[in-house]
């Protein structure tokens, strides 16, 4: 009787292990295709608001111009980049993976010197 619980716990641990290996990660969300939160952690823990926004973004991208993007032209990820952090969104196994990652503030990146 305990087996499904153990399996779920192991799955959760496996997810956490994968997610925590991502460098600079601040939080993560794993959603179903229609936007229900399966797992969450870090700054995105229980963040239904962000889950809804990401799901809406993906459904928005479903109605793009078929002339511009053919049915064979698929993308691997969507990134949303801010000044100090960024989000990476990808789909795998019919689940939406969202990871919020930190941008390390290094002065060398922002200064571009043309000689």
């Amino acid at each position: 009787m305990r087996l499904p619980h153990m399996r779920k716990a192991l799955q959760l641990l496996a997810f956490k292990a994968i997610m925590e290996k991502i460098p600079d990660q601040l939080g993560y969300l794993i959603l179903t295709e229609d936007g229900a939160v399966l797992e969450s952690g870090g700054e995105l823990e229980n963040d239904e608001r962000v889950a809804t926004i990401i799901t809406d973004l993906i459904s928005l991208s479903n109605s793009i111009d078929p002339v511009a993007f053919g049915p064979d032209e698929k993308f691997k990820k969507i990134t949303i980049t801010y000044d100090d952090h960024w989000f990476i969104i990808c789909i795998s196994n019919k689940k939406i993976y969202v990871v919020k990652r930190n941008i390390p503030t290094s002065s060398s990146e922002s200064i571009a010197v043309n000689v």
Partner: protein, 182 residues
């Protein structure tokens, strides 16, 4: 001057108090003229108290509470009996078992109903590809977008936006033409 101000202030206070008291009396009096109307609003009584024992302001309440008690008690009893007849105590029902035939028939009926009422399946993502786990791990640990890429995208979008805003209509012919009806 000071005393005049104080007096006028007192007058205005008293006036507002008087109007408040009159307002209360008015609302109490109005209830007696409304028994015919069956409109349910925030003023309808929850307990059906008879007309002659309607709410009176507090100074007279002490004098009238003893005769009001038995009516309140009977009203409460009535509510209690109504609730007792309407409430179904599931815990007290005892063990209930369906026959095998009735059970399977219900399963069939419920699944049929559930199938008709099912939500449409979520549309799979068209622009994003479904990645196998190995590639997913690769994608998630990939470094962020480079600064030059960001600049490129921002500039391209700015140019596109300015180009779209420069779309103009050039007028060559008259907009309003007469109908040439012979």
């Amino acid at each position: 001057m000071q005393s005049d101000g104080e007096e006028s202030l007192l007058h205005s206070c008293f006036g507002s108090l008087r109007s408040a008291v009159m307002g209360c009396c008015y609302s109490i009096c109005q209830k007696e003229t409304d028994p015919q109307e069956n409109v349910v609003n925030e003023r309808t009584h929850l307990l059906e108290v008879p007309e002659q024992q309607q709410e009176t302001p507090s100074p007279t309440a002490c004098a009238s509470t003893p005769p009001r008690k038995p009516d309140e008690q009977s009203a409460l009893n009535r509510i209690l009996h109504e609730t007792a007849t309407n409430v179904i105590d599931v815990g007290a029902l005892g063990p209930y078992s369906l026959e095998a035939g009735a059970y399977s028939e219900r399963v069939r009926a419920y699944t049929a109903r559930a199938a008709t009422a099912a939500l449409p399946p979520p549309m799979p993502a068209k622009l994003l590809a479904d990645l196998p786990p190995a590639i997913r791990r690769q994608v998630l640990v990939a470094p962020p977008m480079t600064h030059s890429d960001k600049e490129l995208i921002t500039n391209a979008v700015k140019k596109a936006a300015s180009a779209i805003s420069e779309l103009r209509v050039e007028h060559h012919e008259d907009l309003v033409v007469p109908f040439r009806v012979p």
